[in-house]
């Protein structure tokens, strides 16, 4: 901490740090977001189990009461300045590269064998790998698909049986999606719901559209956004979305549970939406695969969830690695995924009793997408900057389309150019060699 002007502070401190006695016993602290009761119980049980079997490595978990993921990242950023990070902390998928590139986390390759890694879905390993090394490991995944209100779609004359019969090789296209949205939009109903959280939800849920059109947000190596997020393909894709807003087929300010409340005919929704719909929907609904681009027909789907990483402040990386390799074994992954009601990252977990409901229905579909079409978000240390710039640009583009009731491609181009510039500036300032 030499870099700080300490004179101000040292006057009033008197506190000296007591050196920890070097004995064999390791103590590990974990931070993860606080969650529903089932997950809190899962943690208690697992940690008790581990601590009993491993008297040398005692583990303690702190539930972090975050208001949103930005608040959680703030806590990590703040703690890191003063070396107050815990040994292990959870991190959202696309942030893995950011932390790894800045040396906040350490590689975990020594604790997971190739055989182990092969059991995880590709997307989960890819998302957590930076510069060829594995920096985080998670138990759960997420996915997004196309939900539809069967009762209402039938009323509008949409061929619901056709939708039901689609397979991963033969998903609907975006123009079919737009047709359905148009058909179903009335004074009372909107045709489609698109995640509109002005935050990470936008780049997360929409990226496959861009990928399917042929260009990702950012280059494969994570260094360039210019020519990607502002490419011709990206402008065309964005125009398509803005057009849905301009024509009123999708709400610019969709309320929470718009689809569940029956105010909306279809939804590009997350795997997490299925359980609430099963519990409370008062209509018959279905799910089909994430739509594809009309020209390429290339199937892509979103993925990514929170994973555990070991911090730079951890004094016993070996102990942390051992603990994580146990925590992420098939049985634990399966019971965690079942408790939190999310798809598991380990393929073998789906064979367990705990995850029996992934054999059919919407959950089987999400699993199928994860195994076949999932592509993680760009792996670049400047992802956070990209994500907020992209969300801001999309908000502006949608607002413009909604106010003028038509799409202005020049405006879209200029907004996406700004996103590319913002990304480039951040990348070049901090990470370019």
């Amino acid at each position: 901490m030499e870099r700080l002007p300490q004179t101000f502070l040292k006057i009033s401190t008197g506190v000296t740090t007591v050196p920890v006695m070097a004995d064999e016993k390791a103590e590990l602290t974990i931070w993860s977001p606080s969650d529903k009761e089932a997950i809190e119980t899962w943690w208690e049980e697992k940690i008790a189990e581990w601590n009993e079997a491993n008297p040398d490595i005692q583990v303690k978990r702190e539930a972090i009461d975050r208001s949103d993921s930005y608040a959680y990242d703030n806590k990590i950023a703040t703690a890191q300045t003063s070396n107050d990070l815990p040994d292990i902390f959870f991190v959202d998928g696309p942030q893995v590269s950011y932390y790894a590139a800045n040396g906040i986390t350490v590689p975990l390759d020594d604790y997971f064998t190739e055989e182990d890694k092969a059991d995880f879905v590709d997307s989960a390993i890819t998302q957590n790998t930076y510069d060829g090394k594995l920096y985080a490991i998670g138990a759960t995944e997420s996915s997004v698909a196309f939900y539809y209100n069967k009762d209402y779609l039938k009323e509008c004359g949409v061929d619901v049986e056709d939708l039901d019969s689609r397979t991963v090789e033969n998903p609907i296209t975006w123009s079919e999606f737009a047709e359905i949205a148009e058909k179903c939009t009335t004074d009372e109903y909107v045709g489609a719901h698109i995640i509109m959280d002005h935050g990470e939800g936008l780049p997360y849920a929409l990226e496959p559209m861009y990928l399917s059109a042929g260009k990702d947000y950012i280059s494969e190596d994570g260094k360039e956004a210019d020519g990607y997020v502002n490419s011709e393909e990206a402008v065309k894709t964005t125009s398509f979305l803005a057009d849905l807003i301009a024509k009123g087929y999708a709400n610019i300010e969709p309320i929470q549970d718009e689809f569940l409340n029956g105010a909306c005919a279809t939804m590009i929704g997350g795997s997490w939406d299925a359980s609430l719909l099963e519990e409370s929907a008062e209509f018959d609904w279905g799910v089909t695969y994430y739509p594809v681009n009309d020209d390429t027909k290339e199937a892509v789907s979103p993925c990514g969830d929170w994973s555990a990483a070991v911090s730079k402040d951890c004094e016993n990386v070996d102990a942390a690695g051992q603990f994580l390799s146990w925590l992420m074994n098939t049985d634990n992954v399966a019971s965690y995924a079942a408790a939190i009601a999310k798809p598991a990252t380990r393929v073998s977990a789906y064979d367990t009793e705990a995850m029996a409901d992934y054999k059919e229905g919407p959950r089987a579909l999400f699993k199928e997408q994860l195994e076949n079409t999932a592509v993680p978000r760009p792996r670049t240390p400047s992802y956070a900057t990209f994500s907020s710039a992209y969300a801001e640009a999309m908000t502006n583009i949608f607002s413009d389309a909604s106010s003028n009731e038509e799409v202005d491609e020049d405006y879209i181009q200029s907004e996406l150019d700004t996103v590319a510039e913002t990304f480039t500036e951040d990348y070049e300032t901090y990470y370019a060699e």
């Binding site: 901490m1 969650d35 009461d65 806590k75 300045t81 003063s82 309320i255 569940l260």
Partner: protein, 282 residues
């Protein structure tokens, strides 16, 4: 008094109450919505947002409250919160009123400079100094201790300034008279000025209590661990991971608002008495 005057007085009174009730309802509507939402199942919270029906709890149940109490150790959360806010407030009222009194009634070198400092620092947004303050806490070894929650927030420019404004209006004659009776300057403040200034103490108490009751970001950064959870952290814990369950959040919020409402109504007693009843004329 003629009949028509009596009528117009009655009518005036009616209009006065009517106006108060209408305005009151507009102000209290979010609280009503919050209470109503806290009684609804998740799927119904944002339903009917297009009509006043949204303010009525349909399919009411206490399930959300049951979830709040089973998931959170509410007595501990209240204890933690009341303890740290209580400590801040006791010190806040003492330290800031003393400073405000000195700035209002004493002549000393540097008075102008201190007053300027107080006014200048009022504008400092917490968001801008959060990280340096955290680094300071960490160097003091205060991270994850009560000290980090309390000590940085005892001195408050707003409170000092408010006390000063109030004490300026206390007649000098009163202080003069006490001095002639042999009271020391400090004695005058504690024995004579403080007791007649209940209104301003009550006001600062209410305003600062409310402000700290809503603290989130700072406790979030410096405190870790369920045993140290404060009220807003507890509420935010329901934001967890997707999907966000607003029903439980609303129930947690209602529970969290109850102590404030009680405090507010209770403090008003001191408020209404105030100077008006103390016999001092400004």
């Amino acid at each position: 008094m003629t009949k028509s005057m009596k009528f117009s007085a009655k009518f005036g009174k009616f209009m006065f109450y009517f106006g108060n009730i209408v305005i009151g309802i507009i102000f209290v509507s979010p609280l009503i919505w919050m209470v109503s939402a806290s009684l609804k199942p998740e799927a119904k919270i944002f339903a009917n947002m297009d009509s006043l029906m949204t303010f009525l709890p349909t399919q009411a149940s206490l399930a959300n409250y049951a979830e709040v109490f089973s998931r959170l150790n509410m007595p501990l959360v209240f204890k933690n919160t009341l303890l740290y806010i209580g400590l801040i407030l006791v010190l806040d009222l003492l330290v800031n009123s003393m400073c405000g009194y000195a700035l209002a009634k004493f002549e000393f070198k540097g008075k102008g400079a201190i007053l300027n400092l107080v006014i200048a620092l009022m504008v400092l947004p917490m968001e801008a100094i959060m990280l340096p303050l955290y680094i300071e806490m960490s160097q003091l070894g205060w991270v994850n201790t009560m000290a980090a929650l309390v000590i940085p927030f005892v001195a408050k420019c707003f409170s000092i300034y408010m006390f000063r404004q109030f004490f300026c209006d206390i007649p000098d004659d009163l202080i003069e008279a006490a001095a002639i009776d042999g009271s020391s300057p400090a004695g005058t403040f504690f024995k004579i000025v403080m007791p007649i200034s209940k209104t301003v103490y009550a006001t600062v108490f209410i305003l600062d209590f409310v402000a700290h009751w809503n603290d989130f970001m700072w406790p979030f950064l410096v405190m870790t661990g369920e045993d140290k959870r404060t009220i807003q952290l507890a509420v935010q814990s329901f934001f967890g991971t997707q999907p966000v369950h607003y029903s439980a959040i609303m129930a947690a919020l209602v529970v969290s608002a109850i102590p404030m409402i009680i405090m507010f109504i209770f403090m008003q007693k001191y408020y209404v008495e105030g100077i008006a009843s103390s016999g001092i004329k400004g």
